[in-house]
Symmetry: C2
Subunit: 322 residues, 2 copies
């Protein structure tokens, strides 16, 4: 498997510019705000979404200024949702660092998230293209309604795989679609290419989230940067837990834990059972199918380094450990 | 004083359309989301911001479609900030109804606010004008950074009137400016008229917030729709409390309450002292100066019913009781 750094080589320089812009955002006069921004933006992350925007924008008229603005926008939108998610979940650690809510409290985290949404929207508007600002807003609506559904479904056992899929499409794949679609639109890709890149983002996002949900069970706490079993602890029923419920419909630790969220032994047992079962492989297989589907029509795009990078990224996403 | 309904008579019909659009927003398939939207949008409010947008757009080319979209956007942005504010403040009542956080919990309220920001952004993008989407995003950044500053300054006695002014400009006047400026821009007003309407919004917003801060001390709980003394209870030092501190620098109930936020008797005493002093009149005088400043250059705009409505609104704002 290629490391992520080899994958984004075609747009390495511009990704550095995105990074510079993200870091310079904390240079504001208000010292409290500056600290909050510094903390939430320095933790980094894989920058998958800006990579997608830049790569997707690299097939037709590479509109550097607009693409850089949009790449910053999608990463800021992602960061804002993480800040709010951590607040809602009362998570203490993210990417190996204490969360904003853990250090400064939930009230500051809510407001910081709002500020980040705003700055994301501003960078998006800087593209000068109304259509992408509309897609941006619609994506945020989709994400937050998906998160709301997840919140209302917390600790509910009666959920179907279709509901799971709809939820991860809303909360994760939609932003991947925004990332690829905006890259395509801003580079004046023909409609057929926009569709191909949207489909790529959609399927890649699903694959990415399924792997995320598996890693929450089998990941290494240090590599994950957060506690194992976080999803279960929040009452979020993900694919591995659903498969576990299907396999052991009678006596099941997920069932017991959802009925009594103080029974942490049951939660740990659920994590262990998933880790020692063929469920992990089954989930990776399903993620693999989406990853394959993501690449299905890429051969209709111009053959260049970015196309190869998108293929490599689809492979990376289902093999990653963090 | 003219009632608010007489003031918006020139744009009554379009304000009804704004109201219809706001109400129809709760028609979404997800029943939980639908309930949340219904609850947060039905409580109403004075709709001052959409009134400002429609009136400000009524001097040159009244661009109905774009103005309606923008009027919906500013009201949704306002509603979203209220939902988050109530969550942060753990307020139980707003406009006489239980808050979203009180009924559904803080997690749902954070996500509902995000959803409302998103839909606000979408309506703003529907204007088709990139400049207003940029102004919209910048305004949200200003508001949330203002709220953050307020949150960091909670229960701090060492605050100047300049800091107070900067804070209310950020958290209130900025959205009034967005409301008037967008109306002007969308109706292709000449630059000089845009400036006049921005200044109007800026000064009106300051006057409005000062009156809000006074009403928090002297208002009638039923008319206010929330408990008296809410600002003090949150540790927010507003103009009336500042003036009380200036008058009684030694033994002062605000001082005692900020040192020990459990001493509710001190809070009640502060409310009583302000209510029985000339501070109220002094605050109204200051608000009146901003209201006058708001109208200073309106005579350079075309003379029509909307201009008279803006003058009446400036008068209403400093005399209102709710």
């Amino acid at each position: 498997m290629l490391p992520l750094s080899a994958i984004y080589e075609p747009i390495q320089e511009d990704l550095n510019s995105v990074e510079d812009r993200l870091r310079s955002m904390s240079q504001v006069p208000d010292k409290h705000l500056s600290e909050l921004l510094d903390h939430s933006l320095k933790a980094g992350g894989k920058r998958v979404r800006p990579i997608l925007t830049l790569l997707s924008g690299n097939f037709y008229n590479y509109n550097r200024d607009a693409l850089l603005s949009m790449a910053v926008a999608v990463e800021l939108l992602h960061t804002a949702t993480l800040v709010h998610d951590d607040t809602i979940d009362k998570s203490a650690v993210r990417r190996g660092l204490p969360t904003v809510n853990a250090i400064w409290g939930e009230d500051k985290a809510v407001l910081l998230g709002d500020y980040l949404f705003a700055r994301a929207g501003e960078h998006c508007a800087n593209t000068g293209v109304v259509l992408v600002t509309k897609l941006f807003a619609q994506t945020l609506a989709t994400i937050s309604s998906g998160e709301l559904r997840q919140s209302f479904d917390a600790f509910r056992l009666e959920q179907t795989r279709e509901q799971y899929l709809a939820r991860i499409i809303a909360k994760t794949a939609s932003l991947f679609v925004l990332s690829t679609e905006s890259g395509a639109v801003l580079s004046q890709a023909p409609e057929s290419a926009v569709t191909i890149l949207k489909e790529y983002g959609h399927n890649l996002g699903i694959a990415f989230q399924i792997v995320d949900d598996v890693l929450d069970f089998i990941g290494n706490e240090e590599e994950l940067g957060k506690p194992v079993g976080s999803d279960l602890a929040q009452g979020t029923l993900t694919l591995p837990a659903m498969l576990l419920l299907e396999r052991y419909p009678e006596d099941n630790p997920v069932k017991r834990f959802f009925k009594d969220p103080t029974s942490l032994d049951d939660m740990r047992q659920a994590v262990e059972w998933v880790g020692n079962s063929a469920i992990v492989e089954e989930c990776y297989d399903i993620a693999g199918e989406y990853s394959t589907a993501a690449c299905r029509n890429l051969n209709h795009l111009p053959d260049n380094t970015s196309r190869r990078a998108l293929l490599a990224l689809a492979n990376y996403v289902i093999k990653r450990k963090e």
